[in-house]
């Protein structure tokens, strides 16, 4: 009987989870695809491809973060802003991960820009995009 309350809690939570089951599947496939693509790109000899790989791997991580939030039936606890803005509570995604992803996007944006600038310099210095012809 020790697990009684827990099981009850489980069954209470499960319908919430179901809302996002389809979404989760799509997200999982997207994350897998992005990481596979990124790995492939990062291992290329062409520097431009590597930069693409950097961009894709960070985006993959962002999509993963979104997936971790899940989609649940919202309530006033999970979306406190809605308390003051309209009474309806729609099906919502977790706001925390959205904020995380926003931050992560800004960071990946900066990193990708830096990588591009470096690529440009590397191209000017070596006149080639092929990593193996360096030095």
């Amino acid at each position: 009987m020790d697990r009684g309350p827990e099981l009850e809690a489980d069954s209470e939570r499960r319908p919430n989870r179901e809302v996002g089951a389809g979404v989760s599947l799509v997200l999982a496939a997207a994350v897998g695809g992005l990481f596979a693509l990124a790995t492939f790109l990062l291992l290329r000899r062409d520097l431009m491809r590597v930069v693409w790989g950097i961009a894709v791997v960070t985006q993959g991580a962002n999509v993963y973060l979104l997936a971790m939030g899940g989609v649940v039936e919202g309530d006033h606890e999970s979306v406190p802003v809605l308390v003051t803005h309209g009474g309806e509570v729609p099906v919502t995604a977790d706001p925390v991960v959205q904020a995380l992803v926003l931050t992560a996007i800004v960071i990946s944006f900066g990193t990708t820009a830096l990588a591009l600038a470096l690529t440009y310099r590397a191209y000017e210095e070596n006149e080639t995009m092929d990593i193996q012809q360096w030095e």
């Binding site: 802003v81 803005h85 926003l102 800004v106 600038a117 440009y120």
Partner: protein, 149 residues
């Protein structure tokens, strides 16, 4: 391209400003508004060329000789970046100076303003404005420097 730019650029700038102003409790905010404004500028650059701002808008000659980093427009962009940084950090420090925690925000509803009747004036706007300037300044510096080479 130029026709499209003529129509689209004002709309983009307008949207970006509205995003900036409502950013403190609606979707939007300094970062995305800054990116949009920078996109508007980038569109102008793409449609009219890099010197359009100097010749077409501000009606002055493009400086020649010195490096792209020292050109008037790029210098202005860098100043914008710095201004934004000062604004953002300053807004955080102001809270500390007033005895509240760093980055603490508040808002005040200003009433009886013509047309709007009431405006919610949030102190977060200062921070957002700072972020906006940082993003605009940084992106335009990068765009014009990389575009110039």
């Amino acid at each position: 391209m130029q026709t499209t730019a003529r129509v689209v650029v004002p709309i983009i700038v307008l949207v970006s400003v509205s995003l900036l102003l409502q950013g403190h409790n609606h979707p939007g905010g300094g970062f995305i508004a800054g990116v949009l404004t920078a996109v508007a500028f980038a569109l102008l650059y793409a449609a009219y060329g890099l010197d359009y701002l100097d010749i077409g808008v501000l009606n002055r000659d493009v400086e020649s000789g010195s490096g792209i980093f020292e050109q008037r427009t790029v210098r202005a962009y860098r100043r914008t970046f710095l201004l934004g940084l000062v604004l953002a950090v300053g807004s955080g420090l102001a809270a500390v100076a007033l005895g509240a925690p760093f980055l603490a925000q508040t808002y005040r509803i200003v009433e009886s303003v013509p047309i709007y009747h009431e405006i919610e004036l949030a102190s977060a706007l200062a921070f957002d404005l700072g972020v906006y300037f940082v993003v605009v300044g940084a992106l335009l510096t990068v765009i014009s420097v990389v575009g110039g080479e």
